[in-house]
């Protein structure tokens, strides 16, 4: 029996059969990746994980040339111990999220050289992410127990500085995201409980090291893999087998490799903007005990005075807190709308309020239909949803009809709901800004806008009534985190899907030939936050000059508000000020951005490059600057953040 496995994933009794069938099938990259994503999305042990990985590698070897840039992620692993046994699980974790992970494992314990040496294997590999896994014995040497707290802190600081130095090289010279694994504390205490009072004791030193290192990771924008927390969850003896350490320098037991692989893969997915964005909750026996339609307000079990009620309250509290950190909440329930809303409005123990719910679907249609409505209303991909429902039949139906929706196996006991959602790790992130905390407000305000819009007599009067205000500026330090976040996670309204690290964005900001814009939209309902990001470069071509748009991405929430035209006005202005002949735009098709295929056409650009035979080829467009008239200027009050207008 495995003490702790991927229990939120459903069992697949027919896995071996399905895998054999998959081994014989081929298809397009999308078909193959979808097939293997589905195979990976079940409760696999380490043997099945290894088999799945092997089968996929065989099939993928034939498809090595396939252009799937956005789905490929290269991870270089630097370690002071043995990690080869964990690689298949990382690849399977990635497959579970629709990614093909290519892994490079640096020669054992050569991590320093691999980073510094310009001709190292790591450099040649050109990783997107570098995972650093240092074991406690290699990273800290013992100090005399009588050492003072200051001496210990200083010793640790030196090591932390060294490692941060490596991060710097990885981020700036190699251009990869750093994923730093916490040091696993495999030490045994010498002082028993008194260990905490001896700064130079082994356990205390590792704790302090992880503390300093994780703080430093925050400053350096390195990602953190909190393996120590998982040691607590799983039990150190289960996560790490000392026998295997002595035998093969394996820190993490092969039995727990599926969990480890999933943890790493979550981070890879977060880097690619693939974390889930929205939690859709069922109501009956999910956020309260009982069935509201039958039991009524007085009969449902929620809140004080009842252990089961407290469990449901705790789950509501957790969901509410998730919305505070930027996860969108929605409801999909088979109930009368008025009856369901009545519970929110009138039950005294409800922590969740209607104002916390960005999309509320209580009806008698099937849940897949409700989920699709929710995705459409919120303007997010169906693959951004997590669906939490206590009913196994509802879960099975959604898994079958909408396999891109994450559907955890909900535990039988309500008191286990919070842990299940947390353990499944759907909402990993690579950043957190104040815009995140306002996300629910923004979506609720958007719902209000949509309601007004559907009632508006005509679009023009609606847009005028919105009293829109655009605040425009070039990229600046204040907004940098949010800008980088948007560049890396916007998928649908993204003309070229170019991803840039923070270091790369800072370089663009220093480049005189590059125009950068971030656009914030306010209207009478509130602040929409940053809704457009543009990066364009002035290019000289012989006697000619063009303003070449490298990146143009927008939030889907503001479609149809003429913001596209307002951004075009900005570009035309920038182009004419530098004497450019034309604005040049590019569309690079991806599996997610079909909606902007005709973006430049709609704005009046002429297509100058297209491959009639190949629908997946990038297209190029041009709009002459001479004779350009700014559009829809009456709709927007424009303010520049650098004081000009």
């Amino acid at each position: 029996m495995i003490p702790f496995d991927l229990y939120w994933l459903p069992e697949n009794e027919g896995f071996n059969k399905d895998l054999k069938a998959a081994a014989q099938q081929r298809g397009t990259a999308d078909e193959v990746l979808t097939r293997f994503r589905d195979l990976a999305t079940c409760r696999l042990d380490f043997l099945k994980t290894a088999k799945l990985d092997r089968t996929f590698q065989t099939i993928w070897a034939d498809m090595a040339d396939t252009d799937i840039a956005a789905r490929r992620i290269r991870i270089g692993i630097l370690s002071s111990c043995t990690v080869d046994h964990l690689i298949p699980a990382i690849r399977v974790g990635a497959l579970r999220r629709g990614l093909v992970a290519e892994c490079y494992v640096a020669p054992y314990s050569m991590y320093h050289q691999e980073v510094i040496d310009p001709s190292s294997g790591l450099r040649k590999f050109e990783p997107d992410v570098v995972l650093m896994n240092l074991d406690s014995q290699s990273v800290l040497s013992a100090l005399p127990f009588t050492s003072s707290a200051q001496e210990v802190e200083d010793t640790i600081s030196v090591r932390v500085d060294e490692i941060a130095g490596l991060w710097n090289v990885i981020q700036n010279d190699i251009g990869a995201v750093v994923l730093q694994q916490a040091v696993l504390d495999r030490s045994q205490p010498l002082f028993g409980n008194f260990e905490a009072r001896v700064p130079a004791s082994p356990t205390r030193m590792i704790q302090q090291f992880n503390w300093q290192l994780s703080n430093r990771a925050g400053e350096a924008k390195a990602l953190w893999l909190d393996i120590e927390r998982w040691a607590r969850q799983v039990g150190m003896k289960n996560l790490s087998d000392s026998r295997l350490w002595h035998q093969a320098k394996q820190e993490i037991s092969p039995i727990q490799s599926p969990l480890y692989g999933d943890l790493v893969a979550r981070q890879l997915a977060a880097v690619r903007g693939l974390s889930k964005k929205c939690l859709v909750l069922d109501l009956d026996n999910t956020v309260w005990g009982g069935v509201i339609g039958d039991d009524g307000l007085d009969g449902i079990v929620l809140g004080q005075g009842n252990p089961l009620g407290e469990a449901f309250s705790a789950f509501q509290d957790y969901a509410k807190a998730l919305s505070r950190r930027g996860i969108i909440l929605a409801v999909a329930s088979k109930n009368d709308d008025a009856v369901a809303k009545n519970a929110f409005e009138n039950h005294p123990e409800m922590t969740l309020q209607l104002s916390d719910i960005a999309a509320f679907e209580a009806n008698w249609f099937d849940k897949p239909a409700s989920l699709q409505r929710i995705a459409k209303d919120l303007n997010i991909g169906i693959d951004s949803l997590v669906f939490f429902d206590d009913n196994p039949m509802e879960r099975a139906l959604v898994r079958e009809t909408l396999p891109e929706v994450a559907v955890p196996e909900v535990p039988l006991a309500a008191e286990d709901y919070v842990a299940c959602l947390a353990d499944a790790g759907y909402f990993e992130t690579v950043g957190f800004t104040s815009d995140d905390t306002k996300r629910t407000e923004q979506y609720v305000a958007n719902r209000q806008r949509n309601e007004i819009q559907s009632r508006a007599a005509d679009l023009d009067s609606f847009l005028n009534d919105l009293q829109m205000e655009l605040i425009v500026g070039s990229f600046d330090k204040t907004n940098l985190s949010r800008i980088v976040q948007l560049i890396n996670k916007t998928n649908q309204f993204n003309l070229t899907t170019r991803r840039y690290t923070e270091a790369e964005v800072l370089d663009l900001m220093k480049d005189d030939t590059v125009e950068t814009f971030h656009v914030r939209l306010k209207d009478r309902f509130g602040d929409n936050g940053i809704i457009a990001i543009v990066i364009a470069q002035h290019k000289a071509e012989g006697n000619d000059a063009v303003l070449d748009v490298d990146t143009w991405l927008m939030s889907c929430r503001v479609l149809g508000r003429k913001v596209e035209e307002a951004v075009l006005n900005l570009l035309a202005d920038a182009a004419s000020r530098r004497g450019a002949r034309a604005i040049r735009g590019h569309y690079v098709p991806s599996s997610r951005n079909g909606m902007v295929r005709e973006h430049y056409a709609k704005l009046g650009f002429e297509q100058v490059k297209a491959d009639a035979m190949n629908e997946t080829a990038p297209t190029e467009w041009e709009l002459p600057v001479a004779g350009y008239e700014p559009r829809f200027t009456n709709l927007f009050e424009k303010v520049f953040t650098d004081g000009t207008s």
């Binding site: 380490f46 043997l47 290894a50 088999k51 046994h85 087998d241 093969a248 394996q250």
Partner: protein, 82 residues
């Protein structure tokens, strides 16, 4: 477990690890017979067996094993509380 059951379960494990449905285990089978049976896969066999049979091997016990027959005997001994 009866000896035949242990052999059958172990055979499943070997077939999984080596991705070869044709593997047939005998008492004399050893690393010499299976080319991919290296130290890496050896760890996997041990760990998978512990998982399957619900037992835990001591480092010392694993040192003396020369072939599958020895291993099966050890598994049975541990299942009987030895």
């Amino acid at each position: 477990m009866e000896q035949a059951e242990v052999y059958a379960a172990l055979q499943d494990i070997f077939r999984d690890i080596f991705d070869d449905d044709d593997i047939e285990l005998e008492a004399s089978t050893s690393a010499a017979n299976i080319p991919e049976w290296d130290s890496f896969n050896h760890v996997n066999i041990i760990v998978a067996s512990e998982m399957k049979f619900g037992i835990k091997f001591l480092a010392a016990e694993l040192d003396d094993l020369k072939n599958v027959g020895d291993f099966v005997a050890l598994v049975q001994k541990k299942q009987n509380g030895g």
